[in-house]
């Protein structure tokens, strides 16, 4: 699904966190940049978790920034995966996956169960279906969280630093699952500092600094001929 962001600006109090950002997203996009650069805020604006004060965002035909838009309905199509997983601790993993399909999409429990199990297979943790989130590792939690987002069959999925809270040996297992999604043709927006992943998977890489979009380019161009010295600095730091 196509996402069109046009001239958006946002302030937290007096502090401007997004400055006239415009971009079009059609397939997988990786957003990177130093912390506090506004990349997370930008991603959260796309599914309406944050409101912008100026500009428009379209997800497909839906204008996210319009007050008339039914935001819960939009979110059925725009999944999100968080840094801290945010699984529901009072539900088993399988119930985490089944909650939204049964309550929001009104699927039958049997159908939701089938889908949930096949997704757990896909992310490699079918044996953790009947376990509570507190009983599994960080990498498994994040894979469960990805499966939970996929259970809604979203057309867009936003990853907000999905591997930043993970131990190094668990990062790969999560990235592998995400690589699989690219092949499925879901529009992915990934905020990450995993540049190897970006190079391999992203159609485009966007670099943000101080609320501004500095450059958005295909990986080859982004890594070899960065448009700004700020990107060079940044790459040197994260690639070390």
């Amino acid at each position: 699904m196509k996402i069109k962001i046009d001239q958006i600006s946002k302030w937290f109090g007096k502090n401007q966190v997004l400055r006239n950002v415009s971009m079009e997203i059609e397939s997988s996009l990786v957003i990177c940049g130093p912390s506090g650069s506004g990349k997370s805020t930008l991603a959260r604006c796309i599914n309406g978790l944050e409101k912008v004060q100026a500009g428009t965002i379209y997800v497909g035909e839906t204008e996210v920034t319009s007050p008339k838009t039914n935001i819960p309905q939009l979110r059925q199509k725009v999944g999100m995966v968080f840094q801290a997983y945010n699984l529901f601790p009072h539900m088993k993993v399988i119930d985490n996956l089944m909650l939204a399909p049964t309550k929001v999409l009104r699927r039958s429990r049997e159908e939701a169960y089938e889908t949930a199990m096949s997704l757990l297979e896909k992310v490699g943790i079918p044996d953790k279906a009947n376990v509570y989130p507190d009983q599994i590792s960080g990498g498994q939690k994040q894979r469960a969280a990805i499966a939970r987002a996929l259970a809604m069959k979203p057309e867009v999925i936003i990853f907000d630093e999905p591997t930043s809270a993970l131990d190094p040996e668990m990062i790969q297992e999560v990235l592998e699952v995400m690589k699989g999604l690219v092949k499925d043709g879901i529009t992915m927006i990934v905020i990450t500092h995993e540049m190897g992943f970006a190079r391999e998977v992203a159609a485009n890489i966007a670099f943000m600094d101080n609320g501004e979009l500095i450059e958005m380019a295909p990986p080859e161009q982004f890594f070899n001929r960065p448009a700004s010295p700020r990107i060079k600095d940044f790459l040197q730091k994260v690639l070390l």
């Binding site: 059925q76 999100m80 945010n86 909650l99 929001v104 009947n130 509570y132 009983q135």
Partner: protein, 262 residues
């Protein structure tokens, strides 16, 4: 296997505790009886026991009143709690005022205002209804704060991830926030139920024939004050103590579910 054992152990230790408490109460009762008798007090339990039915009817009324008031105060309390957290300032202010007002006036006065104040304009409404309303409106101000504390203890990320799945705020409340909040508020909520049962005795001042007023009428005809108040003290205790026990068991159960899911 290990878990079943610990469940049995839990039950046994709880049983022993209940037994000990009961034993101590019996000892205390007997001690007081002995001391007062030797000081020359003539106990007359026989006169009081004739009014067994009056006590039982009073107890039944107390139970009906408490249950209805509890149900209503949960609903009012939840609404007020949500109001307190509303982003619309007016709603938040109104809810805050509600809480502040009812927490700072005595229940006795609230009951009086409902029955003799508002009630004078609606003579067809019974004192039972006024008692329920006064009690639930009053207790709701406490329950609202308990709910608010519980809901605010749930991380904002939980709400965000539920909403990112397309859940509406109400669905999020129903399936994600309240089930988690319930765990942390259960002890204070049951404490509030016990308070409510005891507070219901104040409905006696407007003439609702519940347990306390029942006891007063028995005193009126037998002059056996100590005996008849001792009887209702026991009645109140028998109603309230199990509520605390159930809460303890539920709390343990919930904690266990969280820690040992398999």
């Amino acid at each position: 296997m290990l878990q079943e054992k610990s469940l049995i152990q839990n039950c046994i230790s709880l049983g022993i505790r209940i037994f000990n408490v009961t034993l101590l109460i019996a000892a205390l009762g007997w001690g007081s009886y002995y001391l007062l008798s030797s000081a020359g007090y003539q106990f007359n339990f026989n006169a009081v026991f004739k009014y067994f039915n009056v006590f039982n009817n009073g107890l039944w009324m107390t139970i009906q009143l408490s249950l209805s008031a509890f149900g209503l105060s949960i609903i009012f309390g939840l609404i007020i709690a949500l109001g307190r957290m509303s982003k619309i300032k007016l709603i938040a202010d109104i809810s805050l005022t509600y809480v502040v007002v009812f927490r700072n006036i005595p229940l006795l006065v609230v009951i009086a205002i409902f029955n003799w104040g508002i009630g004078s304009s609606f003579p067809e409404v019974s004192i039972f209804v006024w008692s329920i309303l006064a009690l639930s409106v009053f207790e709701a101000s406490y329950i609202a704060e308990i709910f608010r504390g519980g809901i605010e203890s749930i991380q904002k990320e939980q709400v965000e991830s539920a909403q990112s799945l397309g859940l509406t705020y109400l669905q999020c409340l129903r399936y994600v926030i309240i089930p988690q909040a319930l765990r942390s508020i259960l002890p204070s909520l049951t404490g509030q139920i016990v308070t409510l049962v005891k507070d219901s005795s104040l409905a006696s001042i407007i003439g609702l024939l519940e347990l306390t007023l029942a006891s007063r009428t028995v005193v009126g005809s037998t002059f056996a004050a100590l005996e008849s108040y001792a009887v209702i003290a026991l009645y109140y205790f028998i109603v309230c103590y199990p509520i605390s026990i159930i809460s303890t068991i539920m709390e343990k159960q919930m904690r266990k579910n969280l820690q040992n899911p398999n």
